[in-house]
């Protein structure tokens, strides 16, 4: 049930002060270990709830901020077909954000609290959206690579232990596949076009490749939360496992359309049956996480502006609804 139980919130805080009942914790761990789903009203450790709220709201924020780089090209899409597709895709991203907020709200955190956390900079979102979309080919690269990496991350989350999150992911994964294919199609056409178009496609791949690999998060030995999250089935594969899988799947896709992955250490390893590839620039990753991405400020300014400009609409609709409800009551 997707009901926000805000009444439970105060209780949750009180419970945090006292130690959790070991019997409840053990029963919870056993349920999760046997792949049962945890539902909103079930007992859960505070740390599990907190981790989920953080992960799910971060995921939702990423969908919402993710509309900005692509929205940048809606008015300049090269033809009506592309424009209709891009509009539908950006609308999907809004939808994905809403499914996830709705699922996160079942843990007793209100939508306004999550919005506030994003706008104040307290909550994070995917670093990838702090890079600019300079050419039309970037829209292709985002769909193909960024949504491709997102799918890789999200498919295992369809079996994540928290029921509402898993159900939101099922819906999202169904829709995500169109995103990736439309992006690849854009790249395919550009790579098959004039020299200038081909250069544009290659340039986009050059710029988006490494940030896409960063989307899987820090390497396993530097990812302190991974072990706990895997035990709780909030996460089902490690960052490095998913990154490797993404490289193995994506490299042949680039080759098929005559584009070159910008990594001179990339080589097929016959023994492992996988690609060896170069080291991600983790310093850049941590800098972008801290908000030093090329357009990080611009992204937040856009979100704050949307929130503030929309305030009178939210207030007016609320007051109008209250007035109508009161008038209806008076008439009865």
């Amino acid at each position: 049930m997707y009901t926000t139980d805000l009444s439970g919130k105060g209780k949750g805080k009180a419970e945090k002060a006292v130690a959790e009942d070991p019997a409840l914790v053990a029963a919870f761990e056993a349920r999760v270990a046997s792949d049962e789903f945890i539902e909103p009203k079930d007992w859960m450790p505070e740390a599990y709830r907190k981790t989920l709220v953080r992960q799910m709201s971060q995921h939702a924020h990423s969908e919402i901020v993710g509309m900005l780089p692509e929205g940048n090209w809606i008015t300049r899409a090269p033809n009506l077909r592309r424009k209709a597709i891009l509009l539908a895709k950006v609308q999907d991203e809004a939808g994905h954000g809403l499914y996830l907020y709705s699922a996160a709200e079942t843990l007793g955190t209100s939508r306004d609290e999550m919005t506030e956390a994003l706008l104040s900079g307290k909550a994070k979102y995917s670093t990838i959206f702090n890079y600019p979309t300079l050419t039309w080919a970037d829209i292709g690269a985002i769909g193909w690579l960024v949504d491709g990496a997102a799918i890789m991350n999200q498919v295992p989350l369809q079996r994540t232990s928290y029921g509402p999150y898993a159900r939101a992911m099922v819906r999202i994964c169904k829709e995500e596949s169109f995103h990736q294919r439309q992006g690849y199609e854009i790249m395919m056409h550009l790579a098959d076009g004039t020299d200038a178009q081909k250069r544009m496609a290659q340039d986009a791949l050059n710029r988006w490749w490494w940030p896409s690999l960063m989307m899987f998060g820090p390497p396993d030995d530097k990812s302190p939360n991974t072990e706990q999250s895997m035990r709780w089935r909030i996460k089902r594969d490690t960052n490095d496992e998913l990154r490797q899988k993404f490289v193995d799947i994506t490299v042949p896709q680039a080759e098929a359309i005559g584009l070159t992955v910008p990594d001179d250490k990339l080589v097929w390893n016959e023994e492992r049956g996988a690609y060896d590839f170069g080291e991600v620039d983790w310093e850049e990753f941590y800098a972008v996480v801290k908000g030093e991405g090329p357009v990080a400020k611009e992204r937040m300014q856009a979100r704050v502006k949307a929130w503030e400009d929309g305030e009178w609409v939210r207030d007016a609709a609320r007051v109008h609804a209250e007035k109508r409800a009161a008038a209806k009551l008076a008439a009865e």
Binding site: K41, G95, L98, A103, D112
Partner: protein
């Protein structure tokens, strides 16, 4: 309406996939009133012909059972196996039963 939150209330959304099926819970939306809740539900949950009919109702109106009572509520059914047809042994030769 409470002064504590300026948030639009939360509504639970149910979609009928196609004629002949019952409405199924799919998620929730925030909206100022029922009409807006239907519009938001339509935009959020039926972008790909997922449904032919929508229900929305205020989340606060739902009464749900407590997971702590699940045992008392649902376990008694476990020892009433005679409510299932497989409980009864019918000889092989008997058909249409």
């Amino acid at each position: 309406m409470s002064d504590a939150s300026k948030e639009w209330p939360l509504w639970e959304v149910f979609v009928r996939g196609k004629g002949g099926l019952s409405h199924r819970h799919v998620g929730s939306v925030h909206a100022a009133d029922a009409k807006m809740a239907l519009e938001h539900a339509r935009d959020t949950y039926t972008r790909r012909m997922e449904g032919v009919s929508l229900w929305v109702l205020p989340s606060a109106q739902i009464t749900s059972s407590d997971p702590g009572d699940a045992g008392a509520l649902f376990e008694p059914a476990e020892d009433k196996v005679y409510r299932h047809p497989t409980f009864y042994k019918i000889p092989d030769g008997i058909t249409h039963i």
